[in-house]
Assembly symmetry: C2
Homo-oligomer: 154 residues x 2
């Protein structure tokens, strides 16, 4: 079996302490680089408006403890779907991924808006958003996913 | 030091054998789930048009062997920038991330278009694209990044 060992490149610092489902839009977070990385790793990031943050949901249970097919948020009005058709945190490898707005870079820190991760979350990567990497065709998604997102960024 | 151990959820199968920089747009890849995951993990994915694929650049050198600030593609006409202002594969944790078009789901396999990963690449996660998670403001990026992407999807 092939396993991969990763090391956090930094940690999230913000005022958000609990894994609530909604109201993440106004959260400002600082991502502070870990000491093993040089400050220059962030050079030029401020020339981009957005970044993709890959992080780990380090507070979730082991994957043996959850089902890999379920109703999103346990809502039976919505269809039962597989974990790879959901963005839920209870997933194999516990990886989170969010596009954030870049607010400011200050030395070893990057300030971002709209990161849906709690204080102390380990960050695994930061990638600048290139428009060329966004979907090049119209996006189609089921109605339940729009309903689920209704208050997410409020 | 906090380390994280991940296990591939599946592997890429396609006709692309080398890590060339350009011409990824027409590549069709099969992502086949590893045996430890039930087939239902993919249920409902076909109701989305796009997915985010997190994978690992498993053929790159160890990070001690590359610089964390450099000219993208070694092109001195472009500014020297930090690794977190680039999407280059030679990065801490070796994580790749691409939005793909979903072509078809067939049992334990997902067929996708536009995945810039070579044959046998280990996949770490599949997340459906929700329009609500794309940038909600205009995207700004430096000119060099547009130039770099000129032939990427051709």
């Amino acid at each position: 079996m092939f396993n991969l060992t990763l090391r956090p490149i930094g940690y999230v610092h913000n005022a958000r302490l609990s894994l609530d489902d909604d109201n993440w839009g106004s959260v400002v977070s600082e991502i502070r680089l870990d000491d093993f990385l040089p400050e220059e790793s962030l050079d030029g990031i401020e020339t981009f408006s957005h970044a993709e943050i890959i992080f780990t949901f380090d507070q979730v249970a082991d994957e043996k403890e959850f089902s890999l097919s379920r109703h999103p948020r346990g809502n039976k009005d919505w269809p039962k779907v597989g974990i790879f058709a959901q963005r839920n945190k209870d997933r194999p490898n516990h990886l989170g991924l969010t596009i954030v707005s870049i607010v400011k870079r200050e030395g070893r820190s990057l300030l971002v808006k709209g990161l849906d991760a709690v204080n102390n979350t380990p960050v695994l990567d930061i990638k600048p958003v290139f428009a060329e990497f966004l979907p090049r065709e119209t996006i189609r998604q089921p109605e339940w996913s729009h309903e689920l997102m209704k208050d997410y960024w409020d």
